[in-house]
Symmetry: none
Subunit: 221 residues, 4 copies
DNA sequence: AATGAATGAGTTTTCATTCAT
DNA sequence: TATGAATGAAAACTCATTCAT
């Protein structure tokens, strides 16, 4: 009785009540369903209905959580970016040599992809379709962070003064494209993929043409 | 008869010409409009109506030339792939060293992109986001061709026995991603971009881990 | 028990008070919000959600007080009708001449409108457009009452035997339409409006064609 | 043969072709259905679906002609206003006395309403509902026109210098309200209604208080 | 062939109402 | 009683495709 009274006495102040639990859970149901659907159909072909159908919820419920298909996609994307970015940055901060910098970047990335292939596929395949901008703040920030880290490494003398913008682009391109290939052969071997990409860049970075001043500061847009 | 011909040859008060010209011309009108629309809205968001609207033609006419939005998109992709693939292959066939192989690949690619940025943007952004879903037969064929050329180079002893699948992926990833960056700074400098990418790979290839047997034959899809 | 009372008496951190007070207060909150919303959006475009949003209450609470949007609207209308009808009727009962009858009707009405423009606007515009659908029992009753009073005045010989139905309609039409105009110019001048309308009818009533038998008894619906 | 050729030779220049005919016809089908539906349910309660259902057409077809329910309503309203306004204005222009001015206004209006009750009902009942603005350019213009005509009559010395804004409002109010009543008794008797309203105003106008300068020029909004 | 309106299935979206807390 | 998320029926709207002209 006591507890009952307590509960009803704070109808709007309780945080982890059953309601909140259900709410978080439903949000997750939708996100998971969306991930699945996007991965299967691609973002463009997927409809809000498809997502709802993949859920035990009613159609209207979707709109209690997201305004549109795009909004769910962004939520997924940002969830991913948020999960991996800090890890990547942290590792790179610890690096003291080019080898470490490069290796840990790829190692972390490929391992993340291998462990979370649904998300990776979702985001890659969303590609096929609509203007789902990958240049979302969160994602761009991840790219910028890599570039900044490279520039910092150049400043420290760890890297030769290469074009940081192009190097970042090259790393990103190799990361995504090789990851795609990695996922196509079972069992996934992130270690081999990371070794491959790392070897390429470790040797390559040493011989890259030095950037002009313009080259270094370039890149914004 | 005379009148009839005159009329149908001027379906919309346009310049008179032979029927076949009009036909080819209409097809091209649609393709160009589609390129534009895809580049602006992305493939998924674009509708057939959008394409038609960007055309002086009527909606029904679209279906005289293409069965669907997808078919136009493929036509555009293939047009591009068809335009660049033979050039790339030919150049690579002439290569006698790793340096030449790598350099000519990137040089040709970046120059093509710089000279035809609308198409490049269309394909990148139509598909959207990160990377294109390039799994159209024509496009895949282009990738396979690169891999085959790499494998041939390995067989010839020109390349060390690296993982051809990963190397192809890495080249493709760098090519597209660096091209994207290149287009963001004016004036476009395909030579610098090619130098950058080439230097990366020329040095890198030499130190890439030798592929296992599995590695070499991998990559199916 | 004590605690329970305390809590339920402060459902939203508001001033403590007796339960009945809160209840009446909530009803009033809803009515006021509805008035506002109807005046802004019109009855048709307004949704129950709009009304709730304009309230500190939760959506479910609405249904503790009203069954539907329609019911709130009727409540508002009736509130108004209930507030003015007795006054109008009473005044007219005291009238001993046509002049008094007409004058007091318009005077009272325009003063009421000027003093309570929100309600007037709500009803005019909620309903929308031209004139309100005034066929709510309470409102119709107000019209009938006017007609009855006219008929009574005719019976007394105070009015000539005009068509009471048409006269009532004319009075109502002029009252609402002139009231609308009155509200458009600041400061509102109910006296001038009443003088205008009264003069029109006082002179007019004297020359109105005598009603046929049919005319007198007509009108119901 | 000749004609056939001629037709196909001007596929886009022909005006009263079969296509155009069908188009005009479909537009009318929708307008008529909308009139019916609005009159029955009121504007607010009516849905686009209701209108389509009352039509042999497909749902999408509605949107080839009107963007929304509101747009159809405006079309109806304007159709009506356009039909009656010129008539009213013309009659009033011919008037040389107050009697003629007043009488012809009401006579024309009530006859129009009686002959076209569906439209009248549509517009009146649309009222009950949403923000379907009666203050549409076309409708306001009709009101303004009446006021202007009154002001012109005052200038000519035909009318005493009354408050033209209020007089216009009074006429409009009586016209709509009495028309409503007229439609409730069968058979409709526009002549009696016009006589009633005219008598009221002819006598009334003579005794209306003279407007102040402000009063005369007032009214805009 | 070209035209462009009609079609109607399918999607997005809203919202009154219910109901567990 | 108050709360506010869930519901799902129904409304609004889109658009690929067909087809009479």
């Amino acid at each position: 009785m006591d507890t009952t009274l307590l509960k009803s006495s704070r109808p709007r102040l309780e945080l982890p009540g059953k309601r909140e639990q259900t709410k978080a859970q439903n949000r997750q149901l939708i996100l998971d369903a969306a991930r699945q659907v996007f991965a299967e159909l691609g973002y463009g072909a997927a409809t809000v209905r498809d997502i709802i159908r993949a859920t035990p919820l009613a159609s209207g419920t979707f709109y209690n959580y997201f305004k549109s298909k795009e909004e769910v996609f962004q939520a997924i994307r940002d969830e991913v970016a948020l999960a991996i970015r800090p890890r990547l940055h942290e590792e790179r901060m610890k690096a003291e040599t080019v080898e470490e910098f490069i290796t840990c970047t790829f190692r972390t990335f490929f391992e993340f992809v291998a462990s979370d292939r649904v998300n990776f596929r979702t985001i890659r395949h969303a590609a096929d379709t609509t203007r789902v901008r990958m240049d979302t703040p969160e994602v761009i920030a991840g790219f910028e962070e890599l570039r900044n880290d490279i520039e910092a490494a150049i400043a420290k003398g760890m890297f030769p003064p290469v074009n940081a913008d192009y190097l970042m682009a090259a790393i990103v391109g190799v990361a995504f494209e090789v990851a795609e290939r990695m996922l196509r052969s079972e069992p996934h071997d992130p270690v081999a993929a990371a070794e491959f990409a790392s070897a390429l860049f470790i040797a390559g970075v040493r011989t890259l043409p030095y950037a002009t001043q313009a080259g270094i500061s370039s890149g914004t847009a």
